[in-house]
């Protein structure tokens, strides 16, 4: 929702940091969305509070507080901590998203193996033996342990060829 705020550099003194403005903007948008859509749900019915009452109140609160925050910032901008390590955020988030996207396709074992190898070998600069052992244990090992030892089913590959070789 407010991913853009990650890119922001530390705020310069005397001005509102861009990330703070972006955050306030995002909260106002969410709040207004909640206000508008809860009207459609119905605030009050013949039986008492309707499905929209609580979200309406919360939307209103969110908007009001965001405005208050903006006023506070205008009076005295807060210092924001330095931005996160962007490289790390992208590496972790993208690798997780790719893993989740292909999990049902290539299965847990292959997907998690590649994911772990990426984090251990490529990003972590571990040696080949330890990377391979851990990645295998965390993927194939975990798959068998969960599926057969604990009756918790982790996804198998959706692609027939991969599936047929036990992945």
């Amino acid at each position: 929702m407010t991913t853009e705020s990650l890119m922001a550099k530390p705020g310069t003194k005397g001005r509102i940091a861009k990330s703070v403005l972006a955050g306030i903007g995002a909260f106002v948008v969410v709040g207004v969305y909640a206000l508008v859509s809860s009207l459609g749900l119905g605030l009050w019915t013949s039986l008492g509070p309707g499905p929209g009452l609580f979200p309406f109140a919360m939307g209103a609160l969110l908007v009001a507080m965001s405005v208050l925050w903006l006023l506070q910032e205008l009076r005295r901008p807060s210092e924001t901590p330095g931005g996160a390590d962007l490289g790390l955020v992208i590496a972790v988030v993208v690798s997780l998203a790719v893993l989740a996207a292909v999990l049902d396709l290539i299965g847990f074992q292959l997907g998690m193996f590649l994911f772990l190898m990426f984090h251990l070998k490529v990003r972590g600069h571990r040696g080949w033996p330890s990377s391979l052992i851990i990645a295998l244990a965390g993927s194939v090992g975990a798959f068998y342990a969960f599926n057969y030892g604990l009756n918790v089913t982790l996804p198998a590959a959706g692609i027939p060829f991969l599936n047929s070789i036990g992945l």
């Binding site: 990650l6 019915t45 969110l62 925050w69 390590d85 997780l96 975990a142 604990l150």
Partner: protein, 500 residues
């Protein structure tokens, strides 16, 4: 005296060497299963039920109780060491538990958690022995209006959780409430904020949210310079809490026991409410409240004690009224039914020897949990010796499995990623995360009880003030909210200290 005799009889029945072995095995297996991602106490107990099928009623239920204690404690272990809560009730423990891990006090945190669980569980079980019947009736006094008033007290703790800015705390709280509204309206059935997605009809999964907001966002916020040394493995000496830490956690355990025990009596209250409110109470009343969030032992002792006191107190409505107050208790009730026992007051008249053996086994289970886990603390914390990149990879592995197995759907993995990013953004904007978790848990309960109350009063809001219990509770909530205003001067100066 009768009670004492019957309890001694119960111990005699429970303390056979087979039963002790079952309880020991149950506790050990439960802990291991609880440590694994995606298996909380309910699933853990359900998973291990087949093991108990061939035992007699006493043995089976003793083992189940032990499994239950074990899985709950296993969830705490991952909260503290990996910042990944295994279940909702130990979510709040991650805040100070993981902060303690970061400053090399993981062992102390785990020991305090085990002792707190033991204290809370044992006192609650004593309550069950001493006054089950009146206490059960007490829980019934809480109708929908009182339930709502209790939620008001809970929400009022937002003030305590606020940190530096009330405005930011309210933003966080409102966000949590809005997130909790996603899904089918629990009263009228209308879908809310689902954006047409079938995956959202059941709401946003709480575990995926907290794993994302606490666990993932923590990993994402590592800086280049700190990531490797973010966690210190504790040395042998720091495995045990220091004398100061013991002294500091004692009052927290007392508060936690009170909160967990009281709320556990109320049907429909979940353990996570107890642990959250216990954390809020520490924030509000603890002597060291300004250290909370930075690795204060109170933030572990309070919630963990409350959690286990709640779990044991929830047995009181089961024994006296036949009402299972929480999902875990329901699994236990299932085991009762399998053994041909109907939980309820008739249990004590028709099968009193089994009833007392079960109560005795609760004491034994609590004690075993302590005896088993304190020596193992060193073993668990040794996981922190794993080099940082490997540990990060393993934590990510835990998170993916944990999120996936909630509904066996990758959707929850995406939810976790999204909330990881949201958590990172909130951290960056200096918005506290705890209020969001608080409202996420309390929101649905609050909405439901408000709507039930207004149906009872047929639309009259006066119902909350006409009834003595709810009036007192609401007054307490208002007082908590107003208290910072009453002593405005000094804290204000502290609040403006631009420390972080």
């Amino acid at each position: 005296m009768d009670t004492l005799n019957e309890l001694i009889g119960g111990f005699a029945a429970a303390l056979t060497w087979q039963n002790l072995i079952f309880a020991f095995l149950g506790c050990l297996l439960g802990t291991i299963i609880g440590v694994l991602p995606g298996i909380g106490p309910v699933a853990g107990v359900a998973l291990l039920i087949p093991l108990t099928m061939n035992l007699d009623a006493t043995g089976a239920i003793i083992m189940l109780c032990a499994i239950f204690y074990g899985t709950a404690y296993g969830g705490t272990i991952t909260s503290v060491l990996l910042n990944t809560p295994g279940e909702a009730a130990s979510a709040i423990t991650t805040i100070d538990g993981y902060a303690m891990t970061k400053i090399g006090k993981a062992g102390a945190a785990l020991t305090i958690a085990a002792v707190g669980s033991f204290v809370g569980g044992t006192i609650a079980t004593l309550g069950l022995v001493a006054a089950a019947k009146p206490l059960g009736e007490l829980g019934l006094l809480v109708g929908p209006p009182e339930f709502f008033a209790l939620m008001v007290v809970g929400i009022s703790l937002l003030v305590a959780l606020a940190g530096k800015s009330m405005v930011k705390a309210l933003i966080s709280g409102a966000l949590g409430l809005l997130i909790s509204m996603v899904g089918i309206d629990p009263v009228a059935g209308a879908p809310r904020f689902t954006f047409g997605s079938d995956n959202l009809l059941d709401g946003v999964s709480f575990v995926a949210v907290i794993v994302g907001v606490f666990g993932l966002s923590e990993i994402l916020s590592y800086r280049k310079d700190t990531s490797a040394s973010a966690v210190h493995a504790p040395g042998l000496r720091s495995l045990l809490p220091t004398g100061t830490e013991w002294r500091r956690s004692a009052p927290s355990m007392a508060r936690g026991t009170g909160i967990g025990f009281g709320l556990g009596l109320i049907p429909g209250m979940t353990g996570s409410v107890s642990s959250l409110l216990a954390y809020g109470a520490e924030k509000k009343f603890s002597k060291h409240r300004n250290q909370l969030g930075k690795g204060a032992v109170e933030g572990v002792a309070g919630p963990e004690t409350a959690n286990n006191a709640h779990a044991n107190a929830a047995l009181i409505p089961l024994f006296t009224l036949g009402i299972p107050a929480s999902p875990t208790i329901a699994v236990l009730m299932g085991a009762f039914l399998q053994q041909g026992l109907t939980p309820g007051p008739t249990l004590f008249t028709e099968h009193s020897e089994i009833a007392w053996a079960i109560i005795a086994s609760l004491f034994i289970g609590n004690l075993l949990l302590l005896l088993l886990n304190v020596p193992l603390v060193g073993l668990w914390t040794s996981i922190l010796r794993v080099p940082a990149p490997i540990l990060t990879a393993l934590i990510l592995l835990f998170m993916v499995i944990g999120a996936y197995t909630i509904n066996f759907n990758v959707f929850d993995v995406f939810v976790m990623i999204g909330f990881g990013l949201l958590g990172l953004a909130l951290r960056h904007l200096d918005i506290p995360l705890a209020p969001m978790v608080l409202t996420l848990v309390l929101g649905p309960l609050m909405e439901r009880s408000l709507r039930e109350s207004l149906e009872i009063s047929q639309g009259d809001f006066g119902i909350f003030l006409n009834r003595p219990i709810s009036m007192v509770l609401i007054a307490i909530g208002v007082l908590i909210i107003l208290s910072p205003l009453l002593k405005l001067r000094k804290p204000q100066a502290l609040n403006e200290d631009p420390e972080t």
